[in-house]
Amino acid sequence: MVAIPFSYIARNLLARKLTTVLTAGGMALVVYVFATVLMLAAGLRETLVATGQPDNVIAIRKGAQTEVQSGILRSSASIVESLPDIATGEDGRKLISMEPVVLINLPKRGTDKPSNVVIRGVSDAGLVLRPQVKIVEGRMFRPGTSEIVAGRAIASGFRGAGIGETLRFAQRDWTVVGVFDAGRTGFNSEIWGDSEQLLQAFRRVGFSALIFRLADAGRYDAVKAEIEGDQRLTLEVKRESQFYADQSEGLAKFISYLGTTISVIFSIGAIIGAMITMYASVASRTGEIGTLRALGFSRASILYAFLGESLLLGLVGGVLGLAGASAMQAFPISTTNFQTFAEIAFTFTLTPSIVAMSLGFSVFMGFIGGFLPAARAARMKIVDALRAA
């Protein structure tokens, strides 16, 4: 079989520029929506997965799904602290951080609309356990004072959370003395202060979560069984990375389901656009098709030529849409994760699999749109086609 040259296929697209631009533009928009939504879900997942350290272990009250819902008495915390499996830090103290975690309602900069922000009490061990947290401006809070440090997204996004500003809650004024950057993790959307100070201010008697590291990471299952089986404790143990990954599931699933459904519905419009274009392309070239057949090109060659034209159209749309979507990576997004009821900042993240899926989707649209018209072209009888010209 002799194939029709690619340049013939490509030149056909250039012959009618307005039509090509409109059709590819429609597909580009569909791919843009498809890709941005997947990037959004991927960004959220990546942020929360990166929040947890793989070798950290977290304990919260059994049945509580988030740290905020949890409550752990000091006596329970001491039992966990005394376990021999917990690693010892450089200062000779156990590497365990007992953290109160609560939500406070803060107004956003610019809009003044309030949103819930996580405020976490940490101790020295808590900082050792999160090596990804770095102070980028100002300094760390001093233990025993009403000083706090804010995550980068909070410092820029919420009123009163910038360096040198004060926040008032729980009958105290808290001074923001530093801004920290925790890479692309959920901690960027938190405020940290001294654990004991926050407990007193909020008049809490218990912590919300215990975070610790094991001396021997291989003992995780044994330690989990020991804590969860202890009659004195009602705790649930998870790896920190798993704990945060679970928190992204609800919202990420919601975004990707909604987005894929929307994209599929939208793609019907774009496919119809491609179909109209390709039918017109076939109709206006009836004579050419007859000539090609008379020259000896087979029906299959004609089918592939028109299908190829449609696939190319889809690919152009796909590349344009993807280019637009990848520009979205520059814009951070911040919303409430309804699983934790707290604000979380993240970015659109373009992954290789999203690139592959988007291009595949665009080519698929081109295929569906071009198949029927191409089949019609291939079925034409030589005589009829030549006569029509």
Binding site: T23, L29, N105, Q171, G269, T335
Partner: protein
């Protein structure tokens, strides 16, 4: 009568092309309508709020409770006619997927302040006398097939343990705007159990609902309430029910904005498809346009033909799309169940759909109509030959 029949005949000349375009517009207008309905479902709580109610809660955030002695104090504030209170329970029925809101409420007063929840008199009485009784919305009861007298086990996430309630009443909403997916039980029952098990957390309420005499005084009364508790261990933040609900909407604003933006993208997509159809149509007919002009018809008349054809196709697609939105929205709402308690196509949505269809028709005809009007008779006639 010449113009309409000419336009009609032109429109159905290419049956396949016109048919495909109409289908495209139907899909786009329906998708647009559904997305707008999702956005308005988000605001359901806001729409259902009463201007005569204020919500008062701990100023730090909703996670912190108020002492039980606050509601009676609020009742004494000038301008307040009644106060009730509730706790968010946050329990799970069988699995996390079965989400619905549960509130522990002060039963005798709660349903006085929320008259939109309609209970049968005998069921209400049965609920009031049963400490472990529960009231659920019609939609929720239908979803899980609950009947009066059923035992409903709920696993607490904030108040741990398995809590078993007896269904005593099912409420109906006074209109379609009322959320019929809520679950209410006695605050007193919650408090007794909490007192026995974690004494420090007893005698606290999540938030208070304050009914005011004069809705125009909402701001003043809110301020008076907050001043009453100023500098106490639990300072309050009081706002109208509407503002409170809007606060929830604002939290997920980014997602909402994305859905809104996307709903306009589909209109742009279909505009491109429609413009393509019209461009092809006009291109094929330059010869006819030239003939019309040679016969003495003006440039404007030729442009009008293109416009009317485009508008006609868009309106037919739009009308069918609007009609299709209603059954689809109903099916989608039933699928979503309790996630969107109130899901119905509003009048504004239909108007916006119609406006979008007109816009698509007009914009798509723009360039082709302009080109058709500018066709020179000589060139156009030559194209035919």
């Amino acid at each position: 009568m010449l113009v309409p029949s000419l336009v009609l005949r032109n429109a159905i000349r290419h049956k396949l092309r016109t048919g495909l375009t109409v289908v495209g517009i139907i899909v786009a207008i329906t998708a647009f309508g559904l997305l707008r309905t999702i956005v308005s479902a988000w605001y359901a709580g806001v729409d259902a709020s009463s201007s005569a109610r204020l919500i008062s809660r701990n100023a730090i955030s909703l996670v912190f409770p108020l002492p039980i002695n606050y509601p009676p104090k609020m009742r004494q504030v000038e301008g307040v006619s009644a106060v009730t209170y509730a706790n968010w329970f946050g329990g799970v029925y069988i699995t996390e997927g079965n989400f619905f809101p549960q509130f522990a409420v002060d039963a005798p007063t709660y349903f006085e302040i929320f008259p939109e929840f309609i209970l049968k008199a005998d069921e209400k009485k049965a609920f009031l006398v049963d400490r472990k009784g529960a009231v659920v919305g019609r939609k929720l009861a239908d979803k899980f097939g609950w009947k009066i007298g059923d035992q409903i086990p709920i696993r607490g996430t904030i108040f741990t343990g398995i809590w078993t309630f007896t269904l005593r009443a099912i409420y109906d909403g006074v209109d379609s705007k009322v959320d019929e997916t809520q679950f209410f039980f006695h605050w007193q029952f919650l408090n007794e159990t909490v007192k026995a098990r974690f004494a420090r957390r007893a005698d606290q309420v999540g938030f208070a609902i304050v009914q005011i005499r004069d809705p125009s005084q909402a701001a003043e009364v809110s301020q008076r309430i907050d001043e009453t508790f100023h500098n106490s261990l639990a300072e309050t933040r009081t706002e109208t029910e509407k503002a409170f609900q809007l606060g929830f909407v604002a939290m997920t604003e980014a997602i909402l904005l994305a859905i809104e933006a996307v709903s306009f993208v589909v209109i742009v997509i279909i505009m491109a498809v429609m413009a393509n159809t019209m461009a092809m149509t006009a291109r094929e007919r330059y010869g006819e346009y030239a003939t019309l002009k040679a016969l003495g018809f003006s440039n404007g008349f030729v442009a009008l033909l293109v416009f009317l054809e485009s508008l006609g196709i868009a309106l037919v697609g739009g009308a069918l799309g609007i009609l299709l939105t209603f059954p689809l929205a109903e099916a989608f709402g039933a699928q979503m169940g309790t996630l969107f308690p109130v899901f119905s196509v509003s009048r504004e949505t239909v108007l916006m759909q119609a406006a979008a269809a007109v816009l698509v028709g007009v914009v798509a005809a723009g360039v082709p109509a302009w080109r058709a009007a500018r066709v020179r008779i000589v060139d156009g006639l030559r194209a035919v030959a």
